[in-house]
């Protein structure tokens, strides 16, 4: 029944029955193989409750060690906005010529933070959760998507604070506020897509996480978070390509859409042409492209 196997390799293995054929007969699949794209989407859909529960759990755990606890959900973005107001509004005087500067700035900071933190969280989505990835089997895309969702929940907290700020600064409630919903939906799709791209890159090269803050800061400064891009473009003669790049930059598009929705003095004339089409285009490109890109390396996550 059993024998001490001499080295090299045991000769006792299936001899006349090919293992591959045996596996095929009983419907066994190759371990660790990547599922097809439709199967992957089905698996991911089946884990939708995991994605939402994980995002909420992470959000509530985030400040669990702090004494003030959940107060930081609102305090952190407000403090951020205060710092930017001090530097850009007061010290550098970028507020001149921008009506409703505080609402303008705070909207910009909050919307930008959403994209920024989704990307940062995405970069560490796999590399920072190797224990989970190695312990349990689930479609790995659940992680970056869940992190992007967590940031969306975080943004909703910030938005509540934003509404208070808007009202304090005399911005009237308007029907256009409803445009927030499609704008946020498109931005979330975009963010989740980029988070998936970054998750794959971060899983392979953890060094990316060190590099990202610098790239993101550069991106922030060209996205008109603290100043009006439209002013700069009007006052300086820029080559057409630069103008186009600044205008179609996805971060700037999503920020301006939100400003357009919320602030009455920010009118449609300050938006680039076909702004909704651009916003939708970026969302689809990043969302679908990022998902496929992430899926392509599904079998490699958590290995080694």
């Amino acid at each position: 029944m059993s024998q001490v196997l001499s080295t090299p390799p045991p000769a006792q293995t299936v001899t006349d029955d090919d293992p591959a054929a045996l596996a095929a007969r009983y419907g066994l699949s190759v371990s660790g193989a990547r599922p097809s794209l439709p199967a992957y989407i089905r698996q991911l859909w089946a884990r939708r409750h995991f994605i939402t529960a994980f995002a909420t759990a992470k959000l509530t755990a985030q400040y669990s060690q702090a004494k003030l606890g959940q107060v930081w959900q609102v305090a952190t973005p407000l403090l951020n906005a205060a710092v930017y107001y001090f530097i850009f509004g007061v010290l550098m005087g970028t507020k001149h010529g921008v009506p409703d500067y505080v609402p303008f700035l705070v909207t910009g900071v909050f919307v930008w933070t959403f994209t920024q933190s989704s990307i940062m969280a995405g970069t560490r989505a796999i590399s920072g959760n190797l224990g989970l990835v190695r312990a349990l089997h689930f479609p790995r895309a659940a992680l970056p998507i869940s992190f992007a969702l967590q940031q969306l929940q975080q943004l909703l907290f910030s938005m509540a604070a934003l509404v208070v700020i808007l009202l304090c600064f005399g911005v009237p409630v308007a029907a256009s506020w409803l445009l927030c919903v499609p704008a946020l939906l498109l931005q979330s799709t975009f963010n989740a897509g980029i988070a998936m791209v970054m998750a794959r890159m971060g899983a392979k090269t953890p060094d990316i996480a060190q590099l990202m803050p610098f790239l993101l800061r550069t991106w922030m400064y060209v996205s008109g978070v603290m100043w009006s891009l439209e002013h700069i473009m009007r006052n300086h003669r820029l080559p057409h390509a630069v103008y186009l790049a600044l205008e179609t930059n996805p971060a700037a598009v999503y920020i301006d859409l939100m400003r357009y929705a919320l602030i009455d003095s920010f009118d449609a004339g300050q938006l680039p042409h076909h702004v909704w089409a651009i916003a939708l285009g970026w969302a689809l490109l990043a969302g679908v492209g990022g998902f496929v890109y992430f899926w392509k390396a599904e079998e490699t996550y958590g290995r080694g």
């Binding site: 029944m1 059993s2 024998q3 001490v4 196997l5 080295t7 090299p8 390799p9 045991p10 006792q12 293995t13 299936v14 006349d16 029955d17 293992p19 591959a20 045996l22 596996a23 007969r25 009983y26 419907g27 066994l28 699949s29 190759v30 371990s31 660790g32 193989a33 599922p35 199967a39 089905r42 698996q43 089946a46 884990r47 409750h49 995991f50 529960a53 994980f54 759990a57 992470k58 755990a61 669990s64 060690q65 224990g131 989970l132 190695r134 312990a135 349990l136 089997h137 689930f138 659940a142 079998e299 490699t300 958590g302 290995r303 080694g304």
Partner: protein
């Protein structure tokens, strides 16, 4: 729904095997069949001449230094050796077939490739050559399988269950059972505390309880029981036997020969990455003990 997705579509004949074929298979298998004939041997894991090679970065001289790292990047295209990459041949040409309802122990001295082999079966490590076929998705349960430390045990039970593809209702149904099994609440209400406050033994017990809550087709346990106390080990062993009854296959890595004897009916003995012996528990452990006593 989740369960359907857990195991990819398989041919219908797996559950109703064509009688003729089935019979042939059995005949052929008779010599390796260790009392599995109650159900007829349905293979769940097939390893076909598996080789696993680790590549370790930065083992050249002065590995931690910046210049060494730069050197590695610049020489990427060159031979791995000059770039400071070392290869470790952890598993060498291992073949075996595991069947439904079997509990298989993996034994061998430290560094013999047991954990590596399990990781590869779970699909977490690529094989260098050969193939591993599995029925559905094996679940690996190791000592360092961390859940989320900043969340409470309760949240971890829910999240772990959801991640494994259980539905909220299923988890609710089993929640009490999981907590009781883990024994976390024996010394007070610990399940509502963050997992970072748990001792390593408590955390390991909770992890095992979560993973064991689902009926896995193939469950791989990598010394996860070693951290628990005696009463927990006994509960786990009982649970492993139960999982086997649900027609699953269980692999167990352990240095505790008694625990292997109590739970496994078949043992694979790995030594230096090679499969040295494959047979009924008593026989293999007897040989293994002879080997370890002689200081092999």
């Amino acid at each position: 729904m989740a369960d359907i997705l857990q195991t990819p579509a398989r041919p219908a004949d797996r559950h109703h095997p064509d009688g003729d074929r089935h019979h042939n298979h059995r005949d052929h298998d008779d010599d390796r069949d260790h009392g599995r004939d109650r159900r007829g041997p349905v293979p769940t894991v097939i390893a076909d001449r598996v080789d696993i090679v680790y590549r370790v970065n930065g083992t050249g001289a002065g590995r931690g230094t910046a210049t060494a790292a730069l050197n590695r990047i610049l020489r990427r295209g060159q031979a791995e050796k000059t770039a400071g990459v070392r290869t470790v041949h952890a598993v060498r040409s291992v073949s075996f077939t595991a069947y439904k309802g079997e509990a298989i122990g993996l034994i061998g001295t430290n560094g013999s490739g047991k954990s590596t082999l399990l990781k590869a079966v779970a699909g977490l490590l690529p094989v260098e050559s050969g193939r591993i076929y599995t029925d559905g998705q094996p679940s690996l349960l190791g000592v360092n399988a961390a859940l989320m430390n900043d969340l409470t045990g309760e949240r971890n039970v829910y999240l772990g269950g959801l991640a494994m593809g259980m539905s909220r209702e299923q988890i609710k149904e089993r929640y009490q059972e999981i907590v009781e099994f883990s024994g976390i609440n024996e010394k007070g209400d610990f399940i509502t505390l963050p997992m970072r406050t748990y001792s390593s033994g408590m955390a390991a017990r909770l992890r095992f309880s979560i993973a064991a809550a689902k009926d896995h087709d193939v469950l791989l346990i990598d010394e996860a029981l070693a951290t628990g106390d005696r009463s927990f080990q006994q509960r786990s062993e009982a649970r492993i036997r139960e999982l086997r009854k649900h027609a699953g296959t269980v692999f167990l890595v352990s240095h505790n020969n008694k625990s292997i004897r109590d739970t496994c009916d078949r043992v694979l003995w790995l030594e230096r990455g090679e499969l040295r012996m494959d047979g009924p528990t008593a026989e293999v452990i007897r040989e293994y003990e002879k080997f370890t006593r002689s200081g092999g």
